[in-house]
Symmetry: C2
Subunit: 232 residues, 2 copies
């Protein structure tokens, strides 16, 4: 089997049917570093399909919640959706499907960071929608994403941001806090950010991650558990 | 024809087919002030359908832009979508369809403000999706909303926020500005907000509207035109 045959059978296995327009899926796995274009000069990479997939995913999840949480009001539905359409979770689904192995890129895939997994998943969803329509796309989303959320009760109790929880705690208890950048000495090929978190002017936690936001969240989570332990 | 017969035929005319589950459309036009619930105690008003319709609308527009702007990158598509899914525009479509005449409410409809028109439109879209599926819903959105956006070039040049345009102008030209609340003396039954806009410490415009945000936008638009006139 040649390269394109291998690609087509890998896609068929992931999406559960033989794609009609393989070019859509090739686009869904083409990184912009390749600078590929169509004959008429349109950019050919996954970013446009990612935009589309993100929107389709949002509506399928909205419909799922509408049907499965008849007692939830608009605020509840919005909150639950943002818990499902969560970067970390979409990244984990993309990883489980091993999408990164199909990427065509000039840049080194190892340097992309974690979000590439979720981005490819969204682009794939966009490609399925254009290739086979809404119903097939919805089925793919149910099978690969919504299957984990049958138990909405569990999701209700899931904490989405330790940073906001930590800040809330400080405000309630009139404690001061500040996040501070510090130099990262790690030897990773991917750039990392290091954050020190001070609680009442004492360093309570430190964390590093591939973005400032993630490092802050990680530090806040550590601080939150440290405080919990102290209170016991 | 009795009341429910009149309602059903009004809906049929708007959506272009005879609804299968009229209860969905009754819900889409029920305001929460009625405190209606189902037999099992679930709230029965348009807010949940509005959440759903908003998501479906977002994905139909994303797909429309993906197909109609093959040269637009992700940033362009995002920007164009926010120009279409614009409160003022959705309100105007809701008004054109005269949705407000179908509302069932305990509160006085005249006091609702403009956004009720767009909210009802979104709830109606949610009801069509549940009643008849994605394809029928998409057709409704094309016929009533996207028909106005065949010319994407026109949309590209549309200014969406005079406030940001005005602020940009001030920053570029090192001018100061400030928005100030002032007392509203209008006799409207609906609460209005009044905003004074100062440019280099001189009042350049004043506006009133049903929200602070809208009043600021209106004042910025007036200021922008005043400045344009001055520069000519």
């Amino acid at each position: 089997m040649n390269n394109s045959g291998i690609f087509c059978s890998a896609i068929t296995k992931i999406i559960g049917y033989k794609p009609k327009k393989i070019i859509l899926f090739e686009t869904a796995f083409t990184h912009r570093s390749l600078n590929k274009t169509t004959l008429t000069g349109d950019a050919l990479n996954y970013e446009r399909l990612e935009f589309l997939g993100d929107a389709i995913l949002g509506s399928v999840i909205a419909a799922f919640l509408y049907k499965n949480a008849p007692k939830g009001d608009e605020g509840y539905l919005t909150q639950m959706r943002s818990k499902i359409v969560n970067r970390a979770y979409l990244n984990s689904v993309g990883k489980k499907l091993q999408l990164i192995h199909l990427v065509r890129s000039k840049a080194n895939v190892a340097n992309f960071g974690d979000n590439i997994n979720g981005n490819l998943l969204e682009a794939l969803i966009g490609a399925i929608y254009i290739d086979a329509g809404f119903a097939v796309c919805e089925k793919f989303i149910y099978k690969n994403i919504l299957i984990d959320f049958k138990d909405l009760g569990y999701l209700e109790n899931k904490i989405t941001s330790y940073k906001s929880l930590f800040i809330e705690y400080c405000q309630k208890n009139k404690c001061t806090f500040r996040f501070e950048n510090c130099e990262d000495n790690g030897k990773d090929p991917v750039k990392h950010f290091c954050i020190k978190l001070y609680f009442n002017d004492v360093e309570i936690a430190r964390a590093r991650a591939t973005s400032k936001k993630k490092a802050e969240e990680k530090a806040a989570q550590r601080a939150f558990f440290a405080l919990q332990k102290e209170m016991q």
